[in-house]
Amino acid sequence: MLDADFFRRWMTAAAASVDREADRLTALDSPIGDADHGSNLQRGFAAVAATLEKEAPGTPGAVLVLAGRQLISTVGGASGPLYGTLLRRTGKALGDGAEVSREQLAEALRTGVDAVRTLGGAAPGDKTMIDALVPAVDALGDSFAAARAAAGEGAAATTPLQARKGRASYLGERSIGHQDPGATSAALLVAALEEAAGE
């Protein structure tokens, strides 16, 4: 079972990973975006980590709701509301139990991803974070490792796609051949789950 501490470790691991990879995320956001994805998430997850340390919410749901709100309040751009909504809605779906199972998390995360799809209007194949999140949620029933692998593959698979949502869509065919920065950061977020689980 996964307790509040696991979810705090998840967010801390995500913050560290985003911090390490910020330059790469921004570099991915340069040819098909506006070169800010790395610094956006770096700022946001640093704020999340700081808030979680200070407020120390006691349930898995409360951790994610607080993290999501913090992202909304500090990131901006497209990824702020989208990742913020992902965590907030996942957190709400987790309810207020003190512990949840991996299966419950997978189910709640599916609700969160659906909320992101509704908010942003992106479908799989549109070359967005959705392309890493959807396969990750599907694989999460199996294991954290499987989810990590699926998210990474989903992110890599965005390279040949033509973007239909977000900034990259302005480029039309010129968006082909570049990996989507948001799908890449989504894969980092999923990989951080495995880290938090210590697997």
Binding site: D36, L82, K165
Partner: protein
């Protein structure tokens, strides 16, 4: 890095401090990143609130003042602001007559302003929104995030701002803003890529002797790369692109807008070509504005925006305005 900055992290806060010092008539909340006209809220007037990523100055902070915006919310460089900023701005400027959010059509701006509108309404503020989406380089279809908001933002903010100053009700100001947007189209070209403080190197590689057609204002590449063209050829490409989507039968307002690093000398020369092409295409010009108004940091290049107008819109355009970036009649 050829930047006049301290560190990338404080660029926006530093600029707001500098704005506060230069413009005592504005109230600049550096910590919360809100620029408000000093006499807000103004009784009986709808308040326009806009915002977006920084790096497009004077848009939007430079358009705060009587006859234009009541407040602006600057985000990080090229990053939409967060909802907290817009909620705070709305609360500061609402006189009870309601607030109009002027939102450029980018996923980030739309999502953040939408969240802000919900939160502001929860606080009892009447909020209307207008989306600006004038850039013809992007097809408005299922396969894109829709046309981008660029130069027309200035027309929307000026004209709706003048209507607000006349004391018109929220629904009218909103409708007018929407009409200005629907009557406006833009097209931009880049002669160089842009360098953001956070990245410190050009966002894409554009060799000298080539240009990007159909660019936005966030350093993203355009739809097409071409060998360098003359000012006359660029004017033809830009005007004709705009006219495929807008067939004005009335006179137009013309904005010949610099992206930041193109000298005014070149912009005026470009304007001469734009006017020539408009003349050849039979488009009558009512007013022309030439300068750096909706910029993209240190990008070289320019955009052309046309807005078809009638007597009412022209009167509102000519009405007095007093902001750091646009000022006449007072």
């Amino acid at each position: 890095m050829r930047m006049l900055i301290n560190v990338p992290e404080t660029v926006v806060a530093d600029a707001l401090r500098g704005m506060a010092a230069a413009h005592p008539e504005l109230t600049v909340d550096v910590e919360n990143r809100v620029v408000v006209r000093g006499d807000a809220p103004v009784a009986g007037q709808v308040a326009l609130v806009s915002g977006g990523g920084s790096g497009h100055e004077p848009l939007h902070g430079g358009f705060v003042g009587p006859g234009m915006l009541a407040a602006a919310c600057p985000g990080e460089v090229f990053t939409s602001p967060v909802p907290d900023q817009m909620v705070r701005a709305a609360a500061a400027v609402d006189s009870g007559a309601g607030v109009l959010f002027v939102v450029k059509n980018y996923t980030g701006d739309v999502l953040n302003f939408d969240m802000a509108a919900e939160l502001a309404e929860d606080e009892g503020i009447r909020v209307a929104k207008v989306l600006v989406n004038d850039d013809v380089a992007v097809t408005d279809s299922l396969y894109t995030a829709g046309r981008r908001g660029t130069g027309a933002t200035l027309f929307v903010e000026k004209i709706a701002g003048a209507a607000a100053r006349e004391g018109r009700p929220l629904e009218q100001v909103e409708a007018l803003a929407r009409r200005v947007n629907e009557s406006s189209r833009s097209f931009g070209v880049a002669l160089s890529a842009v360098t953001t403080p956070a990245k410190g190197s050009p966002t894409f590689d554009l060799p000298a002797g080539e240009l990007e057609l159909g660019i936005g204002i966030h350093g993203e590449p355009g739809r097409e790369r071409r060998p360098m063209m003359t000012s006359g050829e660029i004017a033809e490409a830009a005007v004709d692109a705009v006219l495929t989507d807008l067939a004005p039968r009335n006179p137009v307002l013309v904005l010949v807008n610099g992206m930041g690093a193109t000298p005014l000398l070149e912009l005026y020369g470009f304007n001469a070509e734009v006017q020539r092409v408009l003349g050849e295409r039979g488009v009558a010009v009512a007013r022309t504005l030439v300068g750096n108004y909706v910029t993209s940091l240190d990008m070289a290049g320019a955009s052309v925006t046309l807005c078809e107008i009638d007597e009412e819109l022209l009167g509102l355009w000519d009405a007095p305005v007093r902001t750091p970036g646009l000022r006449w009649g007072m």
